[in-house]
Amino acid sequence: MKLDSLYQEVILDHYKHPQNKGLSEDFTAQVSHVNISCGDEITLNIRLTGDLISALRWDGQGCSISQASVSMLTDLLTGKTLEEAAVIVKSFSDLMASKGTSPGDPSILEDAVVFAGVSKFPGRVKCALLGWMAFKDVAIQAQGKK
């Protein structure tokens, strides 16, 4: 079924067992982003040690796609430098814009390639990108505070 390409088991697993959920008190910057079409909300905070992302914590409410995506993002980007993170974010954004034509690059995106199927559902791309847009924003704000 076409739906299975959207709801990969890894996605549902992250939705049911979200990683790095619960905001930290000790952060460099924090942002809140909302998907205006559905009301999904994500608050994300980052702790930078030099250029290294030493912690990413989040809280939010929303659909399986938006919540699993931010959960996976925090797994993927924690411990990376801002420069490394920017490459991963670019790769994920390109995948979401691919309209189902790209399988995604597992050497960069690791588990997050499971979101390739989301790009076939234009109505859900924004859900998958919500956390990633929040990350871009919080990274810029954190750099400004260095």
Binding site: L3, C38, D40, G62, C63, F121
Partner: protein, 418 residues
Amino acid sequence: MSLTALAMREDFPIFLRTVAEGKKLVYLDNGATSQKPLCVIESESNFYKLHNAAVHRGAHQLAQEATEAYESARAIVADFLTAPGGADEIIFTKSATESLNLLAYTMGNAPSGNRFALSVGDRIVVSEMEHHANLIPWQQLCARTGAELVWFGLTPEGRLDLSSIDDLISTRTKIVAITHQSNVLGTINPLDAIVDRAHKVGAVVVLDACQSVPHMAIDVTALDVDFLVFSGHKALGPTGIGILWGRMHLLDELPPFLFGGSMIENVTMTSATWAAVPAKFEAGVPNMAQAVGLGTALQYLSGIGMDNVHHHEIALTSYLLNELSRVPDIRIVGPTNTQSRGGTISFTIKDIHPHDVGQYLDSQGVVVRTGHHCAWPLARSLKAPASTRASLYIYNDEKDCDALVDAILGAQKYFGRL
């Protein structure tokens, strides 16, 4: 006897197609927009094919035919609403949203001395169940004028809490803007007490009837409200056409909204005077084909009979509420019986986000709305930041309700698989 559709599905070309890889289209998103019967599509298209010209301008035959068609549509709307002042009280806008903004902006522009002029100390009353279109224009009007926005809260069942009506609607109140039927809860609001109280203190009542005009007989004289708005596209009509009805003496007192052609009486380089209502509020060449299409849509509805429409939807709502009550882990957001409620049923399913419910339903050909339904304050107050909404209409039947319930059970199985 099972409940069959009130309108022939054959009248609606869209039901000839399938969705989700060959599945029957089960269209339950009527609260967002209705489907269009062929007669409406043809009426709109025939205007362009046969009569297209700018209305109220030109002495040629086409302009006369276009004007005749456009003004006939206005008369049909007036009859449909039982407007006491007839067609002149009907103003065509591009949407119900524009109709409400027209009121808020013109009231905001009313000069001091005008009955609508607002200032610090005045009050506008809304409710917590308003669609954003009947909240934000008033909220921002208050911000511009210093007037105070107050609102009716809700009971746990999703009905208006009228217990503080005399405090809320006070001698300071100038405007009460309220929805007739909630686009989320399906609640039909009791208007008698609100209208009585508003008129007693000299306030006007603005009724957002987007979710009621398509679904029940509306008589503005009997309702005794002062203004009413609805959108054409939810009532089988085209998009791009909305209605504002108002009592003639009140429309007379309001200043114009948009300035330009057609809305003037006389113009010099330094001044202008205004045409009579309704032209005063219809600057520019209007959405003519859409107005004509709406006229055809309302005639189609009248042919079925609005009391029949209402009874059909109530019977179907009763059936669907009963079927949904058998779904495990469901919460109906709004009244769970058919007393003073229409065919809009919102719900949440434990552990499955509405967006995911909607996606699964879509894979089964069942079309619903998910999210906050443009009523964010209501969603927050109900502690249901998002919900799934099924909204019924004349072409729906028991089978559609069964398809919805089956698909919800399917979604629970699908997302429960891990």
